[in-house]
Point group: C2
Chain length 370, copies 2
């Protein structure tokens, strides 16, 4: 049942290595399902907060454009593909390759967005979020959470493991706000899609948000849904339910960085019993980021394994991809989690080498669209 | 791979027996996924058309209440459960039992309804339909169809076979209109949720609808999407896409009667290559109905197998269930298809006897809610 796993070239474990080995063994050769929950808040349109879009206004299109890429291989709600200023492509380009090579089924969950994607998605009754400086960021949290639970439960019945991920612009700022409201991390360790992580701006916004929400550090430790309602984003409630619902049945990879850590913290607060079924899956790029500390962030939540796919764009012929090595983009749209799931579900048949080759093939086509 | 199938006590084959055996063999012991696509048109509120609801107005709640029953075991959008006048319960009571005993995963697809269900569902951009006598019954057909294709494709990747079904009130009338527009059946062979099938009324409505749509018998033979747009219902476009998308990969049980025959006819017109992957799954009650002819209807579409679950309520202690034997309800919410899938996926471990027992247990609880 548990064949020897030698994927050290492709996936490196940080944190909780024994627990990681146990969970990875259960996922090895299993049937994986990938999910991506989209959401946004108007926080992403505050100039300087989010680089996940060529302009602040375009950040509202990015989540939907990302999942259109996954489903159709091209965007419909906007021209071209989501890029950071400078033309660096969305991490969905990695996810596309992982899904294609592994033939993993995948589902989109609409947590609530301003621009609806042209794909079939699970509706959970979510609405796009407000600027978190209102202290009333997300509507309909309870309903979205409960519907997420049902989706997780259903997907947990017919799959061996699940990847939960997100595309939610401005999401590291909202994640920081939730993590502070819950008292998980005081220091600003969160990442950014830019190497020039605008930490001061994020701190200022989060302070204003918490003040408007009437919550100080740790005040909402035991009320994660309330923390999300006040200062979170619309990706979170459904994704939180999804993770809990699925992890009660099967192992779950939380594919992402800062944002999925916020979901993880909330999930473990609501149902601590799932701790043996959750692992964070991210990228080497995020692990190596000098401006954030995903390893410490995960540790601050609990004894939860952290795995990183070892994709390396150093020798890529494309400038837009090499930029990942300089700290751009790094993570998002479950790119790390989907790549790890592709390796595990195919017993290592899909590896970083094949992923890289496929990403290059796809990116060549995508460059024609930009 | 193909163990001997002896399920003749539980499932009887009508039409195309060899093809049936071949398809059933491929489903035996396989991983099944159940889907139910909901929709409605205002046609169901024409007094006398639909008995799937205690009053004409309540027929608009029935599809959503049905899927709430499947997901939550109780209704949320209305009190009690959907009943025919006289208190005869929705066939979702059978589907609930089949899903519970087989532990089959299931998904709800919202083709477009007036009353949104309180469950997570696939949104395909559908809207509730108009009265077909307008000749402009359904909006957004192409988008819903295409998104259905994607859902079918995705579910086809991770399952061994799929059940497509419907809950759409007034749906036998809209199905008759589409079947006539496509020139599949001239005679009114369609069934009804009432033993007093209001055939004359249905004929009159269909005639008015076709006139308003500017289409005579067979005019839209090669344009099924256009037939649906003019005189169909909002369940059809998404379900049509779903069936085609899935049947290109795996066997599909079209679970239902008249309405799924209309979907089948449209699907085979669009993609005849799926004919070796489709089978109609229904109930003994519908086969035995003296006022309709599902066997001839399926034959008129093609050489497609028809299987019927042999559930028998003759000795049921409950009057509301015994009414099925007198011609009430008979089919809907994929009750026949889900029951057949439960038998096949569990290699006969779930059978009619166990289904009956579970239905009685559930119904006892449900009677407390009515």
């Amino acid at each position: 049942m548990n064949p020897p796993i030698d994927i050290s070239k492709d996936v490196i474990i940080h944190n909780a290595p024994r627990r990681a080995e146990e969970i990875l063994s259960r996922m090895w050769g299993g049937k994986a399902v990938f999910t991506c929950t989209i959401g946004n808040t108007l926080t992403s349109t505050i100039p300087g907060v989010s680089d996940a879009g060529d302009t602040p206004e375009l950040t509202l299109y990015t989540p939907s454009a990302d999942v259109e890429l996954l489903v159709h291989g091209r965007t419909i709600c906007m021209d071209g593909i989501p890029i950071n200023p400078g033309g660096i492509p969305t991490p969905a380009t990695v996810t596309m390759a992982a899904l294609a090579l592994s033939e993993m089924p995948f589902h989109i969950i609409n947590g609530g967005v301003n621009v609806l994607p042209h794909v079939p998605y699970f509706d959970v009754g979510g609405k796009a979020g407000r600027d978190i400086r209102t202290g009333e960021a997300v509507s309909n949290v309870q309903e979205c959470y409960e519907k997420g639970l049902v989706i997780g439960d259903i997907l947990g019945r017919s799959n061996d493991f699940l990847v939960a991920s997100e595309s939610c612009t401005g999401g590291t700022t909202t994640a920081l706000a939730v993590l502070r409201a819950m008292g998980i991390i005081e220091e600003n360790l969160v990442s950014s899609s830019s190497p020039n992580n605008p930490k001061e701006l994020k701190d200022k916004i989060v302070s204003e948000a918490l003040k408007a929400a009437g919550a100080e550090y740790g005040d909402l430790r035991h009320e994660p849904l309330e923390a999300i309602r006040r200062v979170g984003d619309s990706m979170m409630p459904a994704n939180l339910g999804l993770v809990i619902g699925a992890a009660r049945r099967i192992p779950v990879i939380l594919g992402g960085g800062t944002q999925m850590v916020a979901v993880l913290a909330a999930a473990l607060e609501i149902d601590p019993s799932i701790d043996e079924n959750v692992i964070v899956g991210t990228t080497r790029w995020l692990i190596n980021d000098r401006h954030s500390d995903i390893v410490r962030m995960v540790k601050s939540v609990g004894d939860i394994p952290l795995a990183a796919i070892q994709l390396d764009y150093t020798d890529s012929p494309y400038e837009g991809l090499r930029a990942y090595e300089e700290g751009y983009v790094k993570e998002g749209v479950g790119c790390g989690g989907s790549a790890i799931a592709a390796v595990l579900s195919t017993c290592g048949e899909v590896n970083c080498e094949r992923l890289l080759q496929r990403i290059h093939e796809d990116y060549k086509e995508i460059l024609k669209m930009i």
